[in-house]
């Protein structure tokens, strides 16, 4: 049943796949080949400004940068200034070890070296495979690296809030499903991906703007969650299959769905078309696109309404009651099965919303949701497994924490500190911030 729905939905996704087939990123820089006389050795320093626009890297030569070539002992061999092609050729006497240094103060205003430690590059004589050795320096916009410490922290904070909103939104369903049914759903990331891919399908393949297609995608996400429950988990519970076995089933479901997405969508990450070309608004020291600002504000509105719904409405109270104690809730006349259905629907819808936002913020890919799963788990463990408010607070905090930690750890490892939080929470307060102090072992 699941497969049927998938293939119907994704039949047209194939068209999108075709569009993208064969589109490759061609990133190379133009530079004239310099031929040298047989015995002359020369070093060509190239300074290129690298910009990332809509996921495509483009490079523009930078002229007027002073370049110094020295021997390893420090004696100067030659000087030069880059031309309009960003190139500067310095003749050197022999095949030897040299250090090439660029003078960062001669870079145009606003540009800085992407890797500040690489203002000087050392080359060994073995690198002269021909008589010419080319060394390239990459520069980038100064906002990230050249900004002051405070500005960098504020920028990270802004990014962190955006990520936090998405994680909080995605993990509410995960936490509520756990609270009401006891199931740890490892396929929850695939519900997030579903939202992102459906948004791509409507937005790019059918060319319907996100503002119109978004609500449809969110509704579909809710139905997707219901489908999980109806086709699999409600039946498993009825068959009396235990929670650990169900957990393994969610793993199987996750593998299956992720590969269905891969099958239909392909392995590349792709961009939603709405609002993809935007320039930064400068809000004080923080650069943020109007799109990201809008999603952040919308996200906050959604999170607050979820919280209000749970806190104030009759259904919300019923959800929290079931999440707290299923037997007791059922004894007070709450229809627990209905509540569980509602939780799956709401969780799926929120996950799909998170998927759309994530797709707008970053890009869409077949594994976008499962890549976030670990952060969601860290968030709901921090907030308290099974508590909806805990998921909101924990997820939000984890998002900020992950982005902020990239100030200290390399960005490729920025999720590692979230594991640290997860472990510390489990040692110090395993029930989480908002969890009840009960025996969880």
């Amino acid at each position: 049943m699941l497969a049927n729905k998938q293939s119907q939905n994704s039949f047209v996704l194939k068209l999108a796949l075709a569009l993208f087939c064969g589109v490759g990123l061609i990133a190379g820089y133009a530079g004239s080949a310099v031929s040298a006389a047989a015995d002359d050795f020369e070093i060509i320093a190239s300074v290129q400004n690298q910009t990332l626009v809509n996921g495509v890297t483009s490079r523009v030569p930078v002229a007027g940068v002073s370049v110094t070539v020295t021997k390893i002992d420090g004696s100067v061999v030659g000087l030069g200034v880059t031309d309009e092609k960003g190139l500067c050729t310095v003749a050197v006497p022999s095949r030897d070890d040299y250090a090439i240094l660029i003078d960062q103060s001669t870079l145009p205003d606003g540009l800085v070296l992407i890797d500040a430690e690489k203002a000087s590059v050392t080359i060994s004589k073995d690198l002269f495979t021909t008589n010419t050795k080319r060394v390239t320096f990459f520069t980038g916009e100064g906002s990230a690296a050249g900004a002051t410490e405070t500005e960098r922290i504020l920028q990270r904070l802004a990014d962190g809030i955006r990520l936090g909103i998405i994680i909080a939104m995605c993990s509410v369903g995960l936490s509520l499903v756990f609270g009401t049914t006891g199931l740890t759903n490892f396929a929850h990331g695939e519900m997030v991906t579903f939202g992102g891919l459906m948004a791509f399908f409507f937005n790019v393949t059918l060319e319907i703007p996100i503002l119109i297609s978004g609500p449809v995608v969110i509704a579909l996400g809710g139905l997707f969650g219901l489908l999980f429950n109806w086709s699999i988990f409600a039946r498993l519970t009825k068959r009396g299959i235990g929670l650990i076995s169900q957990l393994v089933v969610t793993v199987g479901l996750s593998i299956m769905l992720r590969n269905i997405y891969l099958f239909q969508f392909g392995g590349r990450t792709k961009q939603l078309s709405s609002y993809s070309k935007q320039t930064n608004l400068e809000l004080g020291p923080i650069g943020i696109t109007p799109r990201d600002l809008t999603t952040a504000i919308l996200g906050v509105i959604i999170l607050v309404s979820v919280a209000l719904f749970l806190q104030r409405s009759r259904l919300g109270k019923a959800i929290r009651a079931v999440s707290d104690n299923v037997q007791l809730a059922s004894a007070t006349g709450i229809d627990t099965r209905k509540v569980i259905k509602l939780v799956w629907f709401a969780g799926g819808a929120l996950a799909a919303t998170g998927g759309i936002f994530r797709g707008l913020d970053e890009q869409v890919s077949f594994s976008m949701g499962s890549d976030l799963l670990f952060l969601m788990f860290a968030g709901i463990t921090l907030g308290g497994l099974g508590s909806a408010f805990g998921a909101l607070i924990g997820g939000f905090f984890i998002g900020i924490f992950v982005e902020m930690s990239s100030l200290f750890v390399p960005s490729e490892l920025k999720v590692a500190p979230a594991l640290f939080i997860l472990i510390v929470v489990l040692i110090v307060r395993p029930q989480g911030i908002l969890g009840k102090s009960q025996r969880v072992g």
Binding site: L247, V248, M256, L262, L419, P430, V440
Partner: protein
């Protein structure tokens, strides 16, 4: 490729290196998941401990290859303590969450640019297995055996070494589970509180189970990297654990033969599916009318889709696997 070739590949997969390292990893996972009831979703990280233990002898320490074994065991113990200390007192799903997260972080670390010098980054480590290659009595370029069981001399040594390891570990696990230690372990799976009330330190037993299972899993990683002659970070992605788990459930949890037969069967089915799909898409996409059913780039995704479906169906309809005993499937005993 013809059907005869497909048949040969399929049969050979039952005894090939893939089935071997899956069998070893599954034997380890079986101690944790099958006998103790620990939901370890990070077996891939324990396998990586073995591979990187071997690889780092050459890459970082510059010592002999066989130091990789104590090094790997050290990594396994550290990893088991990291994931075990916070979670083994808690409900089972916490271990699942932490192990899956740790395995992913371990993979990020070993493939990172930052620690390139230690772990070799995304390219991994090669040129560490010379000591092992010199032990090979077979000619690497020659083909040995009889159809369908033909292996190059390069692979054949790993096939022999691997099946020897499988036999050793199978015997070890079998003996362990007959021992008083094994009875306590199984008792923990059935009813943790009962075991605790008998004065056993459940926490310590769980930790021992995690470490022993991890060390066996470590050897799976070693076999893989010795055969490939390289250590690749992406061989230890999150999903590898789940494929091993599928193989384990297929053969039957809490049964020594289940881990081995399950792994063989997993690879037979996987290679069969893969070969057939590649055969039908070899001359362009398979179509009915204008509708493309599958093209060659999608074969991998379809194979793994089948794995996911298989795992779901097995857990639902035959959780004891093909040969297991349903009585031993008390995963939700508490």
């Amino acid at each position: 490729m013809d059907w005869n070739q497909i048949f040969q590949n399929t049969v050979r997969a039952a005894v090939g290196v893939d089935a071997i390292y899956f069998a070893i990893a599954a034997l380890g996972l079986n101690i944790q998941f099958g006998y103790t009831g620990l939901v370890n979703f990070g077996q891939a990280a324990f396998m990586a401990c073995g591979s990187y233990g071997l690889g780092m002898t050459a890459q970082y320490f510059g010592i002999g290859l066989w130091w990789g074994i104590p090094l790997g065991i050290m990594f396994v113990i550290i990893l088991a303590l990291i994931v075990g200390i916070p979670t083994l007192r808690l409900r089972a799903d916490y271990l699942a969450i932490v192990t899956i997260a740790t395995a992913e972080i371990v993979r990020l670390f070993v493939r990172s640019v930052k620690f390139n010098k230690i772990f070799g980054g995304t390219e991994g480590i090669s040129n560490f297995s010379r000591d092992y290659r010199e032990l090979n009595p077979f000619e690497p370029g020659t083909t040995y055996g009889f159809a369908p069981f033909t292996f190059s001399g390069y692979t054949l040594i790993t096939v022999f070494v691997g099946w020897t390891l499988v036999a050793i570990f199978a015997f070890l696990v079998w003996q362990l589970m007959r021992s008083p230690w094994g009875r306590v372990i199984k008792g923990i799976r059935e009813d943790e509180d009962a075991v605790r009330s008998l004065g056993k330190n459940v926490y310590a037993y769980k930790m021992q189970s995690l470490i022993i299972g991890g060390i066996i899993g470590m050897f799976a990683g070693m076999v893989l990297s010795l055969d490939r002659g390289s250590v690749q970070p992406d061989n230890y992605s999150r999903d590898v654990t789940f494929y091993v788990l599928t193989a384990l459930v297929l053969g039957g949890l809490a049964k020594v033969s289940g881990s081995i037969v399950g792994s063989m069967l997993f690879w037979v089915l996987f290679v069969l599916s893969d070969n057939i799909l590649r055969e039908v898409t070899r001359n362009g996409p398979l179509r009915i009318g204008d509708f493309t059913i599958i093209q060659s780039t999608q074969v991998g995704a379809v194979n793994y889709m089948f794995v996911g479906i298989g795992l779901m169906l097995l857990m639902t309809y035959r959780p004891q696997g093909l040969f297991g005993n349903r009585k031993e499937m008390a995963l939700d005993g508490r």
